[in-house]
Symmetry: C2
Amino acid sequence: MKIDPQKPADLSAQIAQAIRDAIVSGELIVDERLPSEAELSDQFQVSRPTVREALKRLAAQSLIRTQRGATGGAFVNRLSFEDAHSLQITTSTLLLSMNAVSFDTACEARYALERACAPLSAERRTADQLATMRAEIFRQAQPGLTDEAFCASDVAFHRALVDGAGNPVLSYQLAGAVEAMQPLMNMITFTARSREEIIALHTRLVDAIDAKNGSRAEHTLAELESYTRGLGRDVMATRIKATQGTGKKNGTLKTG
Amino acid sequence: MKIDPQKPADLSAQIAQAIRDAIVSGELIVDERLPSEAELSDQFQVSRPTVREALKRLAAQSLIRTQRGATGGAFVNRLSFEDAHSLQITTSTLLLSMNAVSFDTACEARYALERACAPLSAERRTADQLATMRAEIFRQAQPGLTDEAFCASDVAFHRALVDGAGNPVLSYQLAGAVEAMQPLMNMITFTARSREEIIALHTRLVDAIDAKNGSRAEHTLAELESYTRGLGRDVMATRIKATQGTGKKNGTLKTG
DNA sequence: CGATTTTATTTGTCTGACATTTAAAAGTCT
DNA sequence: AGACTTTTAAATGTCAGACAAATAAAATCG
């Protein structure tokens, strides 16, 4: 674990990278304790604040955890699916909100991924997951639900669908993509009519999953995608009409 | 932007979260300059090193960038697909290496995701992407290629396939999943026979994509998945036999 | 007016110190 | 001897003040 002393700037970044590499390469294993900050300062020939900045960088990625006290220190953290999941959500959410990604593009990606796990979900879903899906459909049918609450329930529904595949790697990837879409979905106004339609499609979807009919589930998802993208287009058209001549921006909902 | 002064520990984490929230909520927009470290120290009533630790946490997630000099400071960074992609790769790689994820599970997830974008890729792939795929197949056929080089080419091949979908969100998600699998793939010894088989499947795959035949591409991917998972099982069986009674570990390649 | 120098601002780094937490070691009492 | 209490040492968390380096704007000079 060495750093280049010739490049004076960004020492903390270099140190963080050196430690990161040591973790990735297996030189440092899970739950192993790193040298104390004082020892690291000596090793890298930098001051303790610099070492601390490096450690905070790693902590931000859940690569290490710190513990105070006599036997404390920084330990290599076992990256859990939960940690990875929440990291991915913040990343994906920001990516979508800061890069003129059209609703259409994000939607296409989301449903493409989701269709991928529909057959697996149809095959393996548990009774519990089916119950969750039906419960969310019931919630979506409640009158007086805000658009945000409707979308949140939508996310929970799809989350259960994804988890049904029984593949944690898939769940981690997909749940991130689905949840990151929520802010974009929240910008859509769901009329009573469109909610009815979505609920009907959700019902057909869970019925297909229940019946272990993967291809029907996939097909229903395709319909749901098409309908959702249509809604997005309508909302966009309305916004463009409403803002014509006013010079107002469309928020983060981009055309294209 | 406030922090809770009652919780004395982890001030830097609290400050980082406060700034992160301000960015996510849109209170701070892209390329906007944050207050200087001195000003932030005043605002949050903490010392400058504490503020700096918070900023480094955000820098680790590519949420801000810093610039020295008179007009320097910390700026809200536009998270690029590239940044997000590299963040996801480190996360996914560590997740797979540190959590007894079986080769089989990871493989299933990868091919499920990849199948999702095969139809889109068949429809939209550019001539350039087709050329890249064929070039990688050619490389894979070279004799004397190490397993690592073979796998790297495999990744490049699938990367081109994914990019063919012409959906940057999908590319970002998929490329992360595919690249994160590489360390696991590297543990497989590819015999001349298995390379031949994989190359044949790759060729059929690119032919299908070339012919804009999405369902055939999807089907070929399913065959590739089945073959790859079979290889993984064989390698595992061999390892178990080889290590029986010796007490040796199987590396990160887990059964089940 | 153009080129150069100065200056002010800001991040990057260092030193040294103190506070807080925590577990182990030492001590004390029964 | 054993259980409880106190002390101590080690580690992170935080602070204050300082200097170095980079950088662009302002001031100066030819």
